[in-house]
Symmetry: C2
């Protein structure tokens, strides 16, 4: 019996070195407790979301460590934004394979901490475990909205205008580019366009700046994570409505437009591929001018792509010459 | 273009079939939204905890599916109990390998739903993803305590009496039994004792019934998950104190006592092995009578095992003949 203070375990040292600096909320108790405490300010509801990302499924194991951390947090921040909520904090469960070294962990924590600061979303707690399988990052994010004001998926009503933020399809094309670098579809694409699409896959840009405009004006909203076509169908299904969309109105980046111009079949990839992390929302006609003003003030571009209609059918996507276009399943599903 | 309502994806069907019945809280929005909403009742703080379990690390992949689900939830419920908090709900991230079939999933959901009812902890939301690796279950549990009353690890003061709930070491011995069925250490153990130890490993019994007694009377508390010796050292470290413990006072089940009687080296396993999910707490001397009354009313047995003292040294464990006993690292660590 030495009688000396025992050394911290490897796990405790790892948490203290990497993650304690991110635990800036007093309720995190410097990550030295079993649990965190948190209470939304009076008059605010708590909004909770939980998305997990797995190496080989949601990202490539060889992606930069900071990009993996940022994506794991940002896919959750995107859900909060779509609900009209402001980020309040997050909990992290990290399952680490044995090959991960200190340099990788430092970069992971740096990316995570940088985003936690940028999005004002401090680390509240979590768990670090080992795994014999791929790196897995499970984050639970907390946000706040004025009581009763969370924007649901199910609120769309006939006549509402349908908007999306930013541009659609970049990340899905970026993923396709990485999976088939030699494919002739991308052979003529400029280096700049390739880089744009790849970066959009690696680094989603959650639209938290748009959250208060969504909260104030949207009747229904969700983030586009599994493909615009499929996600819109989900929103319509839970709202008990249908919709008509103009494909030509869907906002595309210059890079995505170039790729689709070179290979028209990539339009389907763009509209159904997923990983956009843009906001899809419905706005009553009377609120559209104020919505557009608020969106403009937020600095996030938004584009009207169609209208909600009465009915139970699948949404109709209308092509440039007025014909209906089909997209099959239209959505990414794990199973 | 069929014009018909599109079928749900496999992922959506799986969630609707298995998990929607567990989403009894209105804030879960029947799992048909990106996020859940929840607010603690006025005058209550929210307590948040997140523990992940991985096949091959925290449980055996061949364990019963319901046991895996229950353990994943109960390790989190145990954290809430140790903080004096009542369960309020949970979020689930489930990473499923491809070999998992419907029968397994049904049993998993049945165990999870059964526990959600028993512990009044409804499913609020989550994420179901595929993985090329082992089954991984990451749960974030929410609890509530009267505002400002969460019991911290760091509150132990010299003179406080140290208590543990239930019995210590059963799960660690149960694990050892499974890992070395043929070992001579266990050869003479009765079938009943073997079964008791194995069940305690498979099905932790979180002490949520003791939460209000802990909240009302404990100065510091944590749950025993990484081994009593190591966890007590952590509690002392963050509280800035030390402690003296009587090994003979540590409560053992009949089965654990039999095993240790047959093979005295198993005492170390019992005291350092982990997976107990009992509550370790400190109670000021003046509060001990009321604490014991409250604990008795809860139906959870508690046992005094030592006392907090001034100092920075590692806690002292005293053997039957008054000698100090050392335990090495004393705690499970993933790294």
């Amino acid at each position: 019996v030495s009688g000396k203070r025992p050394a911290l375990s490897g796990e405790d040292r790892l948490i203290a070195r990497l993650f304690k600096p991110l635990a800036k909320h007093p309720g995190a108790l410097a990550l030295e407790d079993d649990a965190a405490f948190f209470s939304p300010p009076p008059g605010q509801d708590l909004v909770l979301t939980k998305d997990a990302v797995v190496a080989g499924i949601h990202f490539f194991a060889a992606d930069p460590a900071d990009a993996i951390a940022r994506k794991a947090l940002r896919v959750n921040l995107s859900d909060l934004a779509a609900k009209g909520a402001d980020p309040a904090g997050f909990l992290l469960a990290l399952a680490l394979p044995s090959g991960v070294d200190d340099t990788w962990l430092d970069e992971f924590a740096r990316g995570l901490g940088d985003d936690a600061d940028t999005y004002r979303c401090p680390l509240l707690g979590g768990d670090t475990v080992s795994t014999h399988g791929p790196l897995t990052v499970s984050i639970t994010a907390l946000g706040t909205v004025p009581a009763g004001k969370m924007v649901h998926r199910a609120g769309a009503r006939p006549g509402d205008r349908i908007f999306v933020s930013g541009t659609i399809g970049d990340a899905a094309l970026g993923l396709k580019l990485r999976e088939s670098v030699a494919a002739k579809q991308f052979a003529k694409l400029s280096e700049k366009a390739r880089s744009h699409l790849e970066q959009r896959y690696l680094y989603p840009q959650p639209r938290n700046a748009l959250a208060s405009a969504v909260c104030d004006h949207a009747s229904a909203a969700m983030d586009v994570s599994d493909g615009l076509v499929g996600d819109l169908a989900k929103l319509c299904r839970v709202s008990g409505v249908t919709a008509t969309l103009q494909i030509a109105d869907v906002p595309l980046s210059e890079a995505a437009a170039s790729a689709i111009n070179l290979e028209p079949s990539l339009l389907q990839t763009a509209l159904t591929g997923g990983d956009d992390y843009e906001i899809l929302c419905c706005v009553p006609q009377s609120a559209v001018p104020r919505w557009l003003d608020s969106a403009k003030a937020s600095g996030v571009p938004v584009t009207q792509i169609g209208m909600i209609e009465s009915g139970q059918d699948a949404p109709s996507w209308i092509g440039a010459s007025g014909q209906a276009v089909g997209f099959g399943a239209g959505s990414f599903s794990h199973f």
